[in-house]
Symmetry: C2
Subunit: 192 residues, 2 copies
């Protein structure tokens, strides 16, 4: 097991309804040193790809993405989930369905912050059905930029997102892939 898998086993909880609670270190309370370690791991994994921008989506991707951006020494852009009154009209948008919140959001990135020269590393905390990722990819490609890599903390391997994204040809690295989990026993099985 790697450092993230060990932490999930130690501090994560499986809840009924295919929910993995990691809110004590990843997406509500945040262990910043764990975020740093993930940032370093993504740098090792995507070094040499010419990454000049990190893109994530609010909110729980931001902490991981901060440290990935710091490792690469590049700006971070986070996509926003609803139309704010002081966002530019000049934006790239995508519709994204949320697995957690059971709703659909318009996801927005200002056109100022993505251009055809950008080699983008997309970062997010969870990959389940892949809707958020597909939205971010469509935004990068609408800007004429390239998706050089995708770094995910936890992939739910029993859902279809990861398979779909890999079949589309993207270089996807999930630090922990949960193959199965059992709410009754609490057991979590990771992909080798």
């Amino acid at each position: 097991m790697n450092f993230l898998e060990e932490r999930i086993v130690k501090d994560g909880f499986v809840r009924p309804g295919n929910i993995l609670k990691v809110d004590s270190f990843l997406n509500h309370q945040i262990d910043v040193s764990l975020m740093e370690e993930m940032g370093r791991e993504f740098r090792r994994r995507f070094e040499g790809k010419g990454i000049n921008k990190v893109l994530t989506i609010e909110s729980s991707g931001i902490a991981i993405a901060c440290f990935a951006a710091r490792e690469f020494g590049v700006p971070l852009v986070f996509a926003k989930k609803s139309k704010s009154l002081n966002i530019d009209a000049d934006t790239y948008t995508a519709e994204v369905e949320s697995f957690t919140h059971k709703n659909t959001n318009t996801v927005i990135v200002s056109k100022k912050f993505l251009s055809p020269e950008d080699k983008v590393l997309i970062i997010d905390d969870f990959l389940a059905n892949g809707c958020a990722l597909k939205g971010l990819i469509s935004i990068v490609e609408a800007a004429g930029a390239s998706v050089e890599g995708i770094g995910i903390a936890i992939e739910k391997g029993h859902q279809q997102g990861g398979k779909m994204i890999r079949e589309m040809g993207y270089d996807l690295c999930s630090l922990a892939i949960v193959e199965s989990m059992d709410a009754e026993s609490g057991e979590i099985v990771f992909r080798e």
Copy 2:
């Protein structure tokens, strides 16, 4: 002018309706090295207060709060803005009106992540009317924890939030206080 004021003058824009756009480095695209510098500044300012937790509110406070938490070597907790399906029922809540979005959110922190032993540094990107801060303060105090300091990137000095929070006796440090700004000339005047 300090490093943040200089950056605001260089890359910020004043828009009609009392809007200061800093989305190229603070709250949409993020200059991570600027966040680090703010984190260091907040450590200098609040060192010796026994800070053992940083609290912010999603989304644009998270990046600054990450680096403040890293400086202090403590966990970060971010308050969530709406009831997620997998947030615990056992939460502290506050109602917060958003100046930017012109709506009201329920702000939530799980009771697991705040306790009477906590000495909390609250971090946010903007302070205008102070509604978000008051919500976070009420959550910390409901937990029996103490607000040891409040670190803000940009305070709008011509609105009432900062005055109100200081009169309540909190140790508030805003790195840049905008005294006035003019959308026509683009001029921004900071408090000395």
